[in-house]
């Protein structure tokens, strides 16, 4: 049995909930049990936005992630708030463009990805979250283009269907980043 608990966190507007949804849909397409729970309320307007995603082989119990296996921190307040919550041996992905400090813990694996800078350089400043997602899936050994493409198709609204290839390219940039 395998269960992975993800916590995505950042500023409102960085696509935190979108990232979580993308991962959840990918899980669904991969025939896993999944849950997605956003933080909701006033903190979404300008402050920290976060969402819990659980991908499991078994039915998901509590959908609330308080001890993530994987923390995705897209700004400093998120890292400050959740760094200590990550389980020992867990993984932290940090957007190093916006988070200047290093992770203090030495019992977790950390990937620093300058996602915001990579997104700007690529001419897609709004896709830092997707670039980071590329890295995440690559590290977790889960970057399967077929299911990624299908998941993107589910979360990108029909109105923005032309953004699918752009998202895929952004994801590849993240996956290729060393």
């Amino acid at each position: 049995m395998s269960t992975k608990q993800f916590l995505f966190s950042g500023f409102g507007g960085q696509g935190i909930l979108f990232s979580g949804k993308l991962l959840a849909y990918k899980g669904l397409i991969d025939e896993k049990q999944v849950s997605w729970l956003p933080s909701y309320g006033p903190e979404m307007r300008g402050g920290t936005a976060s969402c819990s995603v659980i991908i499991s082989d078994d039915p998901v119990g509590s959908p609330i992630v308080s001890k993530p296996d994987v923390l995705v921190a897209m700004n400093l307040p998120s890292l400050d708030k959740y760094e200590d919550a990550v389980v020992p041996g867990g993984i932290i992905f940090a957007d190093s463009t916006l988070i200047e400090r290093k992770v203090k813990r030495d019992d977790v694996t950390v990937y620093y990805v300058p996602a915001t800078k990579l997104a700007n350089d690529n001419g897609t400043p709004t896709l830092a979250n997707i670039i980071l997602m590329g890295k995440i899936l690559n590290v977790l050994g889960d970057f399967d283009e077929t299911s990624v493409r299908a998941a993107l198709g589910k979360v990108i609204s029909a109105r923005h269907a032309d953004m699918l290839e752009v998202n895929l390219k952004a994801m590849q940039i993240g996956a290729d980043y060393e």
Binding site: L28, V34, V60, G61, S62, P63, K154
Partner: protein, 353 residues
């Protein structure tokens, strides 16, 4: 799994209601249930239905009364403070024996409270929901799939028994997304010969009303209604049992609290503690049977709630207070962690030995 879609609990309720044939929705926005109204606003006009944002919660519930009088499936949704505003209408619906579906996606209280999840409207929902002697059928989903299924079930029960079904969910259930299958076998709604649909000069007038100035007549309607309630108590209780057969300790929890508790039960079992979970799916009628059965072997019950201890009273009543029942809770929008529930189980285990 190909037929499953990811949906928020609130959206699943709205879509399931439409599938169940509901074409009339009246509401007023309030966090954390606004997605129900938003979904209806988008969908209803496209399928010839009616979405109407009323000027207040009170107006919305009375619009429900009006449409229900015509025999059509109708619903409203709100969150805790908004449900309080609807309580007059809930009582009138009961007094007029009208079917309706009412959704309460609870938030912390009392008063305006907060917007985070809560289960503190348990008393309000299960003890009637307004003035006078009455009950609503109260359904407590613990997954997005159940948000959809119990919505369909709620309409069916409401029509069968001519009463209000309430979905008693919480902010987590409303906001979370899970895979959901919307492949339902929708039963035909029963005939409603009482509906006010026009006599066409071929029958007596139907009158929908909750006013009885004769105390004898009013007493009679109350007695009759409680005969019906007795039948429902004996026939419609729903629950889930998890590892209860050999349990020394039994956790009682519904909705999100049951999800959290299941994690704790699994962890405690892995440590060799004999613990199980009873999850009421109907809160009224309360499923007394599994509790009575469990009280024969369990040495302690733990009621896990997002309230100051409301369902705990029904657990005590169901077991005739034969076994001690303790409370494990968080309130105000906070949710107990699996660790907190596990701690309560371990403490109980210490006492049991």
């Amino acid at each position: 799994m190909a037929d499953k879609v990811l949906m928020k609990g609130n959206e699943a309720i709205a879509e399931a209601a439409i599938i169940a044939g509901c074409r009339h929705y009246f509401g007023y926005p309030i966090t954390p249930q606004t997605e129900v109204a938003a979904y209806m606003a988008k969908k209803m006009p496209k399928i010839g239905g009616c979405f109407l944002q009323a000027e207040s919660e009170i107006a919305a519930i009375n619009m429900v009364y009006g449409v229900s009088s015509t025999g059509k499936r109708v619903m409203t949704s709100s969150s805790s403070p908004g449900i309080s505003l609807k309580s007059e209408g809930l009582s009138y619906l009961a007094g007029a024996d009208l079917p309706a579906l009412v959704v309460n996606v609870q938030r912390g209280g009392p008063g305006l409270g907060g917007i985070q999840p809560s289960q503190s409207d348990y008393f309000q929902a299960t003890r009637g929901g307004g003035h006078g002697d009455f009950h609503m059928i109260v359904l407590a989903p613990a997954s997005v799939q159940e948000m959809a299924e119990l919505t369909v079930k709620g309409f069916e029960l409401a029509d069968t028994y001519r009463m209000t079904s309430m979905i008693l969910a919480d902010g987590t259930m409303g906001q979370m997304m899970e895979p959901v299958s919307l492949d339902f076998d929708i039963k035909e709604a029963p005939e409603k010969p009482w509906a006010t649909t026009g006599t066409k000069m071929q029958r007596e007038h139907n009158i929908v009303n909750s006013l009885y100035l004769s105390p004898e007549k009013l007493e009679e309607t109350n007695f009759e209604r409680y005969e019906k309630y007795k039948y429902i108590e004996e026939n419609e209780a729903m629950y889930e049992e998890y590892m209860v057969e050999d349990a020394d300790i039994v956790v009682a929890a519904f909705g999100i609290a049951a999800r959290v508790s299941k994690n704790a039960v699994n962890e405690a079992r892995s440590r060799g503690i004999k613990v199980g979970l009873i999850r009421p799916i109907t809160l009224w009628p309360f499923p007394t049977l599994p509790f009575k059965k469990a009280a024969e072997h369990a040495k302690q019950f733990i009621s896990v709630e997002l309230s100051m201890g409301q369902m705990i009273e029904d657990v005590k009543l169901a077991t005739d207070c034969k076994v001690p029942v303790t409370l494990c809770n968080r309130v105000g929008g906070m949710i107990p962690s699996p660790e907190q529930v596990l701690e309560a189980i371990m403490e109980a285990d210490g006492g049991v030995k």
